[in-house]
């Protein structure tokens, strides 16, 4: 065994070795720490990389699903927007329908109006027709009106049958006959001829016929001879 002086020296020598060992271990720890940290990081990255495909797939799937939902949502919004845009058109259609209804009503009104007018016209025509059943002969300042369907029919037939042109212009006008209801038609009566005036203008000239003479004599007391 050592004496105490040598023992003390031994103690301090070993203490120095221990300190040196601790320092080297500390240096190693310090120098290893960045490597260890890098290793840990790289390992973590590597492990994540190993599991990356499924992770990425899952992420992509989730992203795709989210994107799909967004797209659907967007599509829904687009559809809703289209509906909103279509709304005015619908309103226009509604307005058009209303307008149609109004037009329909108007048409109906017009029809009814026309019916009414038609009825009126018919009534007027009927009245005119009824008027045609009378013939008025003016002679001088005198007026003679003939009524009755048969009489009017005979008078009208006689004048309608006029067909022969007449170029005679001798003699004065004995009088004229109007057909009320067709006031524009006026026959002026001469001894040898009948002139037709439409709207006050001479439109035709006919040779006097016996039928005209007969009806004039029969219904108007105008004797032109036979």
């Amino acid at each position: 065994m050592r004496n105490k002086q040598d023992f003390e020296q031994l103690v301090f020598e070993r203490a120095d070795k221990l300190k040196a060992h601790d320092r080297s271990m500390k240096i190693v720890r310090i120098s290893v720490m960045p490597i260890a940290a890098a290793f840990v990081v790289l390992t973590a990255v590597g492990l994540r990389g190993l599991s990356n495909p499924s992770y990425m797939n899952a992420t992509n799937a989730a992203d795709n699903a989210a994107a799909g939902e967004l797209y659907e949502y967007s599509a829904g919004n687009t559809a809703a927007a289209n509906d909103l845009e279509a709304e005015p058109r619908n309103q226009a259609e509604i307005n058009a329908a209303k307008s149609y209804e109004e037009d329909f009503d108007a048409v109906q009104d017009a029809d009814e109006y026309n019916d009414d007018v038609g009825a009126d016209v018919q009534n007027e025509n009927t009245a005119a027709a009824q008027t045609q059943t009378s013939a008025v002969v003016f002679r001088g300042q005198q007026t003679q009106t003939v009524t009755g369907e048969t009489a009017v029919s005979e008078i009208t037939s006689a004048f309608d049958a006029l067909s022969e042109p007449s170029d005679s212009s001798a003699g004065g006008c004995l009088g004229y006959i109007e057909f009320r209801g067709d006031t524009e038609t006026q026959y002026r009566i001469y001894a040898d001829r009948v002139e037709k005036y439409t709207g006050g203008t001479l439109t035709d000239s006919f040779a006097m016929t016996n039928d005209v003479k007969n009806v004039l004599a029969k219904y108007f007391n105008i004797d032109l001879g036979s």
Binding site: M1, F7, V11, E13, R14, A15, L18
Partner: protein, 184 residues
């Protein structure tokens, strides 16, 4: 003599000579204690030197919450047990020769074993289980409290109480078998 803790504080403050006080106080007791494990004076001295060297090199490990004595004996216990584990095969092979103490250790032993009662106790201790032997050694030869012995062995005071009680019972039986009257 100044307390060991005060000497250690001086050493930490830069008074290198103060460590001599610590070595003087614990050199023999540590070697005597370690010898009980390793049964070799050179090895015991070597391990004791390691304990002191560690106190010098790593002073911050001693926190002053225990006595320096219990801290040093704790290191000695751990290092001795570790040495035995590492060299158990070699110890078994040299078992007979290791029981023979050299002259230097005999001097230490004589300084630690001062009376007949201590002699008989010291001779009987190697026959006890390790925990009983260590606990009895720390309590009777080092005069430690159960609490200090517990810190040195890394056990609870209650365990030390049990070790001492069972160790004394075993020691009584051994001494009675050898024809000695056991005294508490």
């Amino acid at each position: 003599m100044i307390p060991a803790e005060e000497a250690f504080k001086k050493f930490l403050d830069g008074d290198k000579s103060a460590f001599s006080v610590i070595i003087d106080e614990f050199h023999d007791p540590l070697i005597f204690f370690i010898y009980g494990y390793v049964k070799n004076s050179d090895t015991a001295e070597d391990i004791a030197a390691d304990c002191f060297a560690e106190l010098v090199a790593r002073p911050n490990r001693f926190s002053f919450r225990s006595t320096l004595k219990s801290y040093l004996f704790s290191m000695a216990h751990n290092k001795a047990v570790s040495h035995i584990r590492k060299h158990s095969r070699l110890t078994l092979l040299n078992d007979n020769s290791s029981l023979v103490a050299d002259d230097d250790f005999a001097a230490i032993e004589s300084s630690m074993v001062t009376d007949e009662r201590s002699r008989r106790l010291h001779d009987a201790l190697p026959k006890l289980k390790d925990n009983y032997r260590t606990a009895l050694h720390l309590v009777y030869f080092e005069g430690m409290s159960y609490s200090e012995a517990a810190q040195a062995m890394g056990r609870s005071p209650k365990q030390i109480d049990n070790y001492v009680s069972r160790g004394k019972a075993a020691l009584k039986k051994i001494l009675e078998e050898e024809g000695f009257a056991y005294e508490e």
